[in-house]
């Protein structure tokens, strides 16, 4: 317990030292405050965005796009994962293509996605999906493949149907692994959404960052990055809470 408190204390200390050093170096002009900005300037920028009623609008748009893309990715991956598990032949045929697509830099697909889906939110969601979907499918399929053979044997003896095996064994046993992988995937989805916002959006945190760089307002750029870190952290915490709840029932 004491050890945990110390670990957390040290983490907070590192953040505080970093902020203090950043502010000090910027204030004393040791680092270029135009490029690197400073914590006080970022707070001021957040306050300006808040006063102009823009802050929560941008955050809301990015979070909505992330949640939609993330949910879609999980639902589609779950269906395809089940299909692969039930029909291993399809997985064996498609596996090299999935690996190939996954290794491709997705940003290269950006122009194509915009032409096909238009310069709107759909393209941003598709961009995020292109980054996370294959990863999700592989993770879900792999966790399905690791289903306890002993329990599977038991259900086979009692002539359980494929649906019953999925319902009582395959999906519940993969749940912890799936939720665990979601922690990484939520960040990946956010990366995809920001990439999409860089390319097509008129609002959102990605748009703020691009806009800031275009008008050389690097404080706005760093504010956007700071908000992104915060969003990513909150989403990570939410998924960790869900994961712990599931794990607690198993242990």
């Amino acid at each position: 317990m004491n050890n945990k408190i110390f670990v957390n204390l040290f983490r907070v200390l590192i953040i505080l030292v970093f902020i203090f050093l950043w502010e000090y170096l910027s204030y004393k002009n040791i680092i270029n405050s135009f490029i690197f900005s400073s914590p006080s300037k970022i707070i001021k920028c957040i306050s300006t965005l808040y006063n102009s009623n823009n802050l929560f609008n941008h955050i809301f748009i990015t979070i909505t796009e992330t949640v939609v893309a993330f949910s879609l990715s999980i639902i589609i991956a779950l269906f395809i994962g089940i299909l692969f598990y039930e029909c291993n032949f399809i997985y064996r045929v498609l596996e090299p293509f999935l690996t190939l697509f996954n290794s491709m830099p997705k940003v290269a697909l950006g122009p194509l996605i915009i032409i096909i889906f238009g310069a709107k939110e759909t393209s941003i969601i598709i961009m995020a999906l292109s980054i996370t979907l294959i990863l999700n499918i592989m993770q879900i399929y792999n966790s399905f493949s690791q289903t306890d053979k002993y329990l599977d044997k038991l259900l086979t003896i009692y002539h359980a149907s494929r649906y019953e095996k999925l319902k009582y064994l395959v999906i519940p046993s993969a749940l912890v692994t799936i939720v665990n992988s979601l922690k990484i995937n939520i960040s990946m989805t956010l990366i995809g959404v920001i990439m999409g916002e860089f390319l097509v959006s008129k609002a959102g945190i990605g748009y703020l960052i691009v806009y800031g760089s275009q008008v050389f307002n690097l404080t706005l750029v760093l504010t956007g990055i700071f908000i992104l870190i915060l969003i990513s952290f909150i989403m990570y915490v939410i998924i960790t809470i869900i994961e712990n709840k599931i794990k607690r029932s198993y242990d």
């Binding site: 259900l155 519940p172 242990d251």
Partner: protein
Amino acid sequence: MNNVLLSLENVSKSFKTKNKTTNVIDNISFDINKGDFIAIVGTSGCGKTTLLNIISDLDKSYYGNIKYNFNKYDIAYMMQDAALFPWLTIKDNAKLITKIKKINNDDYINTLIKRYDLEEFINVYPSSLSGGMKQRVSLIRTIASKPVLLLLDEPFAQLDYQTRLKISNDVFDLSKENNITVIMITHDISEAISLADKVIVLSKRPSRIKNVYKINIDGINNPILRRHNPKFNEYYKLISEDLDILNEQ
């Protein structure tokens, strides 16, 4: 009147590896009557579990013939491990097979839960239970599925001696109360003699039937009392000799 529930005729099984074929079971034939409690003993690796897998219809690649005078869906199987589902509560675990078989036996499940003092654990998960308690839940789940034939694959092997005696006693009682035919495979000769009406001794691989003992210990039908009867030791000696235990050591 034909009382035969299951009949194995010249059942053989072999495994093919890279360059050779290994015979595991060689021409095994026996009949099992309704209500029998049969124990199959044999040395490790002689093919006992393979035989059980064949009888349970899990393994279909064998030679010979098996006649089932009942519905194959009425076979139940208890394994070494309690095989409880970690994400289901004790109550849900106990009800799982009845759900799959679409039968309602909730009252009987509740009675057995009460009988084995598991009431206070019905809403907890298996990880909170001891090995013996888990095996009892597994037993409730198995018996509640209303089997005609119960296959036991060394279900007490992972339990300590005292729990082992208790659970084996429970299996014996429930099988007799519900008129369930039982085939149990075990390494433990004492367990076989104390529980079974008939003990089939298998030879080393490829396994053949070496001997069949009809157990009659002065009409005693209590597994623990059987162990205290002098006849128990006589059967023990005979089966040990069949299994060549002393020479193996």
